[in-house]
Symmetry: C2
């Protein structure tokens, strides 16, 4: 295949994905659901963050989860224990969710529940610091996690994820004393990519920063009303 | 685009990549170079492992590095300090190296050096636990790293990387006392995906396991002679 044909096909694919994302967002708006796309490297702590979030917010805010994984329902099963609807999507060989997969998830949500009762849909993406940032799924807000164990240089080396994020959680802060890293330098590197992003240092283990995260989330859901 | 056309194009792409990988391997064999493809999530410690490896082996084994990063030469610059040739490849938006990019790297290596003096070429892939496992670049051996901070379930959730690896390094072992994880369970999950893989627990910080790693590497290079 010629390089130009490859490039043209890729642009087509991204355009088709964007159209699908816009359609998903219109459906979510009609249902009155705010949607958040949660992204990070594998093992940065997306699922445990959701566990803590559901424990704190469920009941106050009606939350549905769309859970993306290449294979298994391990994470979906963890989250189902919190009594919320969890729509599991296995992406197979695909390294990210795309808008077509999430459209299928929204269809299943509407089939199994009255979707207008939900305030917030959280999409947990496949663990990957690269491709999920390129494929919108219909979200209103993007949240990225960076585990501080991943090192100071990641915002410089994987810029798109950090440029796209509305909120960046620095996770596993409890490990800071055992790592040769400078949290200020991580934050400076993030700001170099995205001066306006909200940066929240958190630890699911000690609870550090979780109140600030829940406050950010509440205000993100409330903003829906004013759109 | 229809799903079937998309699938056909993807199969085409993977076939073309495999052909390129076979060509790269033939060139490497002609030069007498053993090639290793180093893969992991972002921040699992590929570059620091290479630093430790070069400090221990350079001089004894002639090593060239092919350094893949989406952007920046941060890692390449770190490794150049060890006095080895480092061919930097920026993949742009691509989340993995492919055989065409590495062919370009080998071309540059042969242009700048006499390639027949090298015993070992180590390809450091883009930080991604998914796609690099699908795109061979011409390597003889695949080495995957899993930081124990990423959790016990990763081999089950990202199976291909673990199925493909000849050697799996469990990195950041020095953090084990501070994590709620069971190393035996990680190893059992890896073995479930790949019963025969060599598993080496290591810590770049304390030096744990680095001798075993270097021994594995030495024997991997020696095996070249008997092929």
């Amino acid at each position: 295949m010629h390089q130009t044909l490859e490039a043209a096909l890729e642009i087509n694919l991204l355009h088709a994905n964007q159209d699908g994302a816009d359609r998903n967002r219109a459906i979510l708006d009609e249902w009155g659901i705010r949607c958040l796309n949660l992204m990070s490297s594998p093992g940065a702590g997306k699922t445990v963050l959701l566990e803590k979030t559901l424990a704190q917010l469920n009941g106050e805010i009606n939350i549905a989860i769309i859970e993306g994984d290449m294979t298994t329902e391990l994470d979906a099963d963890r989250l189902r224990q919190y009594g919320v609807p969890v729509i599991a999507i296995n992406t197979g060989r695909s390294c990210h969710l795309d808008s077509k997969m999430v459209a299928g998830g929204l269809h299943r949500l509407a089939h199994e529940y009255d979707p207008t009762v939900f305030d917030l849909a959280i999409v947990e993406n496949v663990g990957n610091l690269v491709c999920p940032a390129e494929f919108e799924v219909g979200e209103h807000l993007k949240v990225a996690l960076l585990s501080i164990t991943e090192g100071e240089d990641k915002p410089l080396k994987y810029p798109l994820m950090f440029q796209e994020a509305d909120c960046l959680l620095l996770t596993k802060m409890d490990l800071a004393p055992y790592l040769d890293i400078d949290i200020n330098r991580i934050e400076a590197n993030v700001r170099q990519m995205n001066p306006d992003v909200t940066i929240l240092p958190v630890s699911a283990k000690t609870g550090q920063g979780l109140d600030a995260w829940v406050m950010w989330l509440r205000s993100g859901v409330r903003n829906r009303v004013s759109i």
